[in-house]
């Protein structure tokens, strides 16, 4: 059950670079990443800022940003 995150930095997807391969989805411990018609998206309120999705992306489409952005 997602609860509001207290993370100060969260992950976001660059939809121009992202190929929607879905590799990041099972890597996310709170299951915050979803495949939508618009592509892959990180649920901001669920992301805990653990950064486990960042380095494994084959094209570097994920990055960390300040949560209050």
């Amino acid at each position: 059950m997602p609860h509001p995150t207290t993370a100060r930095r969260i992950a976001i997807v660059d939809s121009v670079v992202c190929d929607a391969c879905g590799l990041c989805m099972p890597l996310c411990p709170p299951e915050a990443i979803h495949m939508t018609r618009r592509g892959l998206e990180v649920e901001a309120e669920t992301c805990t800022g653990c950064e486990k999705c960042i380095a494994p992306c084959p094209v570097g489409a994920l990055e960390m940003v300040d949560a209050d952005r």
Partner: protein, 393 residues
């Protein structure tokens, strides 16, 4: 509300075979849905399969979905020392844009309904069955399904919706990138596997011929072992070094799960098969044959459970047990072997390659290669003993 005995989410090798087998076993309404607008495309795969496993499902002789027949395996050490393994009927590089539709056609001939451009967006349990919301080209439709087979790949959602844990540890995810490269020279009867932390840390680079002069050239890396480059950057550097004059005509990227089968592949009215259940061979990264074998088991068990009127987790557990007996248990061993090989540094691999080249080609079997490795690393002995008992290939 439309009803299916068996609803299969995902039209890849696992899903297509599951649909084929469920329909052939007498399930009366089998629906296979594929999110993309085509079965088999886009290709997110190196497309290599072993001959023996493939032939359990379709005959490759003269088939239009074969890109290239392979009779040799060539290992490259980090310093590019080449080691050829003795030839046999090794396998094939497929054209999956034609292979998957051939599987889907079989499923349809057996009586399954197939819908492309259709995805499952939600699933909830109601009255001993699953209520699944489908989104397709004509809008949304809710189906009732007695059994749902999650063949929805590395990005699986069916498992999540059914309360199964399908998460992957970082050390078990191979980040992969692959180009289709033309105008290059290589032996078109061979697949090449290039090892070494400098080449592809935690994985390997591959050249899988699609034809004379054109091949799938790719690699997989474990991000934890990377020097900061992502998979595509490793691949660009690899290409610049080995095929600087090649013509890149395609790119695909994706994740290959190199862990072992998920602990629970079964829930009430649910079975997971293929990549969704982490059924890829941890050592080779090959998943097509495993997916088809699991799909076959899942399809048969789905039909059996529906016929018996018992689609509970307890009834479907036989699917999990049968998979573990068939291949899942072997994967535990292959996983340990993979972890051991990952500890080899470039220098060890170079020395190993040099040693193996000292063995005459006609005597150069996988067994002798392993023996050479053991001579340098006695700590491999217990693992190797188990391996020869269980038969690697």
């Amino acid at each position: 509300m439309p009803t299916a005995d068996v609803l299969i989410v995902g039209g890849g090798p696992a899903g297509c075979v599951a649909a084929w087998e469920a329909a052939a076993a007498g399930a009366s309404h089998v629906l296979l849905i594929e999110r993309d607008r085509a079965i088999g495309a886009p290709v997110r795969c190196a497309e290599g399969v072993g001959s023996e496993g493939l032939r359990e499902f379709l005959n490759p002789d003269g088939a239009p979905w074969v890109a290239r027949k392979i009779t040799k395996v060539i290992f490259w050490a980090p310093d590019d020392t080449e080691v050829v393994l003795r030839s046999r009927d090794v396998g094939y590089v497929l054209d999956r844009t034609r292979f998957e539709p051939a599987l889907a056609d079989r499923a349809a001939q057996a009586g399954a309904e197939i819908r492309i451009g259709t995805e499952a967006v939600r699933m909830e349990r109601a009255n001993g069955a699953w209520r699944v919301e489908l989104r397709g080209p004509k809008g949304d439709e809710t189906w009732t399904a007695k059994v749902v087979i999650g063949a929805d790949g590395v990005e699986t959602m069916v498992g999540r919706w059914a309360g199964l844990d399908t998460r992957v540890a970082s050390r078990n995810m191979e980040s992969c990138a692959q180009y289709v490269v033309g105008n290059i020279e290589f032996d078109p009867d061979a697949i090449y596997l290039h090892f070494g932390p400098s080449v592809a840390p935690g994985g390997y680079a591959w050249i899988f011929p699609k034809g004379v002069g054109v091949a799938n050239v790719g690699l997989g890396v474990v991000a934890l072992r990377s020097d900061g480059r992502n998979a595509r950057q490793y691949l660009d550097d690899y290409l610049a070094k080995h095929f600087p004059h090649g013509t890149v005509t395609g790119l695909t990227v994706g994740g290959v799960i190199s862990g072992v089968t998920v602990k629970h592949t079964v829930a009430d009215g649910v079975m997971l098969a293929g990549d969704a259940a982490h059924m890829i061979n941890p050592l080779s990264g090959g998943g097509i044959v495993n997916a088809m074998k699991a799909g076959r088991l899942a399809g048969r068990h789905a039909a059996r459970a529906v016929r018996a009127g018992d689609t509970s987790a307890a009834s479907l557990q036989a699917y999990h047990d049968e998979w573990m007996d068939l291949l899942g248990s072997s994967h535990l061993l292959y996983y340990k072997l993979k972890e051991t090989i990952n500890k080899f540094d470039d220098d060890f691999l170079n020395r190993l390659a040099a040693t193996v080249r000292g063995i005459p080609l006609e005597k150069r079997t996988l067994g002798r290669v392993m023996a050479s490795a053991l001579a340098h690393h006695p700590s491999l002995l217990p693992l190797a003993a188990k391996l020869f008992v269980q038969e690697l290939l």
